[in-house]
């Protein structure tokens, strides 16, 4: 299968190791007998989410069409980002009504963890990470992609794909704080336009993870983590952030 690595624009420019880790994880699957060929098309730029989120749908449309063209040739598109995948899989139909056919690559776009568990049927990613880890369930991965059960819903217990992969790592201990799936307050333009609330929400999340004893805070969304990390470093907290891809790829936490 031909897998295109979809690198979120801000990850490309500001958090390149997250994309590199995702690439390595996918490439390693070939090493365990999966017929997989991974590429990261250099023509990709941005799925259009920041503009769509800000209500600039006219400006977002060309970016969305471009994104689809760049990846159309892939069997699957995989991204280390819940929000970007949610944009493509859930929102492209609204942004480009009647433009996406049933075979559109938008429908074959997956977040990294769900690609591993649902498509590649990976039971476990090998590795060791002897730390207490707080998992931040990003809202897009939770309530749009449904990668894990949301606390408001009464559905049959869905597997938490991200937690499952993390638990497979030796020594990794998941710790859960209060209000485990409350929003971190990043929200795109919200982080800047409603700065006071955004910061209040983020601080509450950090405090919850600190109370739970987390050493590392992780998520499938680097945007949430950058917002939380910005608060931790400004307020002087002990927690370090790492993207799930970095943990699964075997990275160690940096010096504090």
């Amino acid at each position: 299968m031909r897998v295109g690595l979809f690198v979120p624009c801000y990850v490309d420019q500001m958090f390149p190791d997250v994309a590199m880790a995702a690439l390595e994880i996918l490439e390693r699957q070939a090493g365990v007998g999966v017929e997989i060929e991974v590429e990261a098309p250099s023509g990709q730029t941005c799925c259009g989410q920041p503009l769509y989120n800000a209500g600039q749908w006219e400006a977002a449309r060309p970016l969305a069409r471009r994104h689809l063209r760049v990846f159309e040739h892939c069997d699957y598109v995989v991204s280390p980002s819940g929000s970007c995948v949610a944009m493509v899989r859930h929102h492209y139909d609204k942004l480009l009504p009647d433009e996406l056919g049933p075979q559109s690559v938008a429908r074959r776009t997956y977040e990294l963890c769900e690609f591993l568990t649902d498509v590649l049927q990976v039971e476990r990613v090998a590795g060791a990470f002897p730390h207490r880890v707080g998992l931040h369930a990003s809202c897009h991965s939770l309530r749009t992609l449904r990668l894990a059960p949301a606390s408001e819903r009464r559905t049959p217990p869905e597997q938490d794909r991200v937690a499952r992969l993390l638990r497979g790592i030796d020594g990794l201990q998941l710790v859960e704080g209060a209000r485990a799936d409350e929003c971190c307050g990043f929200g795109g333009v919200f982080a800047v336009e409603e700065e006071a609330v955004s910061v209040a929400m983020g601080r509450d999340r950090v405090a919850a993870h600190e109370s739970a004893g987390a050493e590392i805070l992780t998520s499938v969304d680097m945007s949430c983590l950058a917002h939380l990390d910005g608060l931790i470093r400004r307020d002087g907290g002990p927690i370090q952030v790492m993207h799930v891809a970095q943990i699964l790829a075997g990275r160690s936490p940096g010096p504090r």
Binding site: V7, A19, N53, L63, R154, E194, E195, V197
Partner: protein, 455 residues
């Protein structure tokens, strides 16, 4: 003032904001526990959504059926195009009956229409009888939540208010004793009232009856003591069948307060033998929303308030930060639809977490509608739009993106202070900016390809 400004005001007292947040989270947890009582909870929500979708699709026919049946039961039915007409109709009925003292149970519709001040200008005294509504009425404030009007107040503040207005002992803050004082005071009003105004939770087309739910029994006292009962409702409150009440009522109280059902679920099938019932059907922009493909679904709202309780923004900023009759997620859709100029900041008062959609008993896609509204209210001439277009231009080409990114990273590295003061100021006020990496992914990847890198 915009929502962000009012929100920042509210957060200037972080302890109070945290208290407010905790109070509403507590109700969200009660809702969660109540939903566990119903094994088929998610199916019930889907059923409720489907009944509403069908009803809204054929609303005209159901309103006609309701009117026919309500009249057959002896009720009078009036139609009001807008808030002003609603107020005039209600006033007309009161004036004809020589009424100067009215008791009113909770009705967000009458809030929306500004009924109380209108009647006051015409010399008619209205006593709001829902305890929370009475509290805010005495304070001269609007309700801050559609189900829990005084959720923003501490008991000491209610105590001070009652000492001043009801003559209770200064310093008294015990809720039981304060409620007792309100009971006595309101009993006098109920007994002296010449008319009772209520809202309507559901109007059943099949029978022409109306259903009103309360915990305090105040709607019933208002409708059963004075001879004149006026029931005010938005046209979207009609449902097809009696059987549908079972679906909605199993969802309503559980979603609103975590109770299986309110203490009183009253069904008024026409007037009392010795009384009169007037039902006022109000449009006030609803027919316009009904014709909007994206937003018609927002009319399914049964006013439970669950979206407010679960909203992390509402909890931390309070109902008043929305400066609208209906706050929170549903208000941030309905109010900008009614008045985009005034309420343009509301669709952006949302982090798009989607929790509201998950708790809505009628499955309104609140978060998607808020996003869609952003596209409608965005001003094509604003600085923000121009900046966004600039961003779109940069993002439309990989080379431009790389150059802009490289420039940004260099600036961050060399002049972090300057960057922090500039465009990123709102970000950097309380957050550190990320450490800029020396190379982007596309650079690292290109290098890796050249050196024949992994696996």
């Amino acid at each position: 003032m915009t929502h962000p400004q009012r929100a920042a005001e509210f957060l200037r007292d972080p302890a109070r904001a945290a208290w407010h947040d905790g109070a509403l989270w507590f109700i969200r947890e009660k809702r969660d526990a109540a939903s566990l009582q119903v094994e088929e909870w998610e199916e019930l929500r889907a059923l409720a959504a489907a009944i509403k979708a069908h009803t809204l699709d054929g609303l005209a026919g159901y309103l006609e059926q309701f009117e026919r049946n309500a009249r057959a039961l002896g009720a009078a039915v009036h139609w009001a195009r807008d808030a002003r007409e609603h107020n005039e109709i209600v006033h007309g009925l009161l004036r004809e009956a020589g009424v100067t003292r009215v008791v009113k149970s909770k009705s967000m519709l009458t809030e929306e229409c500004g009924l109380n001040p209108f009647l006051a200008r015409h010399g008619i005294e209205v006593t709001d009888t829902d305890l929370g509504e009475r509290i805010v009425q005495l304070r001269g404030e609007p309700p801050s939540h559609i189900v829990l009007p005084a959720i923003h107040l501490k008991k000491e503040e209610v105590g001070e208010l009652f000492a001043e207005r009801l003559g209770t002992e200064p310093g008294l803050s015990d809720p039981t004793r304060l409620t007792e004082a309100a009971r006595h005071s309101l009993r006098e009003r109920f007994l002296a009232a010449q008319a009772g105004i209520t809202g309507v939770n559901f109007a059943v087309a099949e029978t022409g009856g109306i259903t009103v739910c309360t915990n305090e029994g105040n709607a019933d006292l208002g409708a059963s003591l004075p001879p004149l009962h006026i029931a005010c409702m938005g046209i979207e409150k009609v449902i097809p069948r009696v059987a549908d009440l079972g679906v909605f009522l199993r969802l309503l109280a559980r979603s609103a307060t975590g109770q299986a059902i309110t203490a009183y679920t009253s069904h008024f099938q026409g007037p009392r033998p010795d009384g009169a019932l007037h039902i006022v059907l109000v449009d006030n922009g609803r027919s316009t929303i009904a014709a909007d493909r994206t937003h018609a679904r927002s009319l399914a709202c049964i006013r439970c308030g669950a979206c407010m309780n679960t909203c992390p923004v509402y909890r931390r900023t309070g109902g008043y930060s929305y400066a609208a009759t209906i706050p929170g997620p549903i208000g941030s859709i309905l109010e900008p639809l009614r008045d985009p100029e005034r309420h343009g900041s509301l669709p952006f008062a949302c982090s798009l977490c989607g929790s509201c959609r998950d708790v809505c008993p009628v499955k309104i896609d609140l978060d998607d509608q808020l996003l869609a509204l952003r596209a409608t209210v965005a001003d094509p001439r604003s600085a923000k739009t121009r900046a966004m277009r600039g961003l779109a231009w940069v993002l439309s080409d990989p080379v431009r993106l790389e150059r802009a990114g490289a420039l940004g990273r260099s600036l961050l590295r060399l002049l972090p202070g300057v960057v922090a003061q500039g465009r990123f100021n709102a970000w950097a006020r309380n957050r550190d900016l990320p450490d800029p990496p020396p190379k982007s992914f596309r650079q690292l990847h290109a290098e890796r390809q050249r050196t024949g890198g992994a696996p």
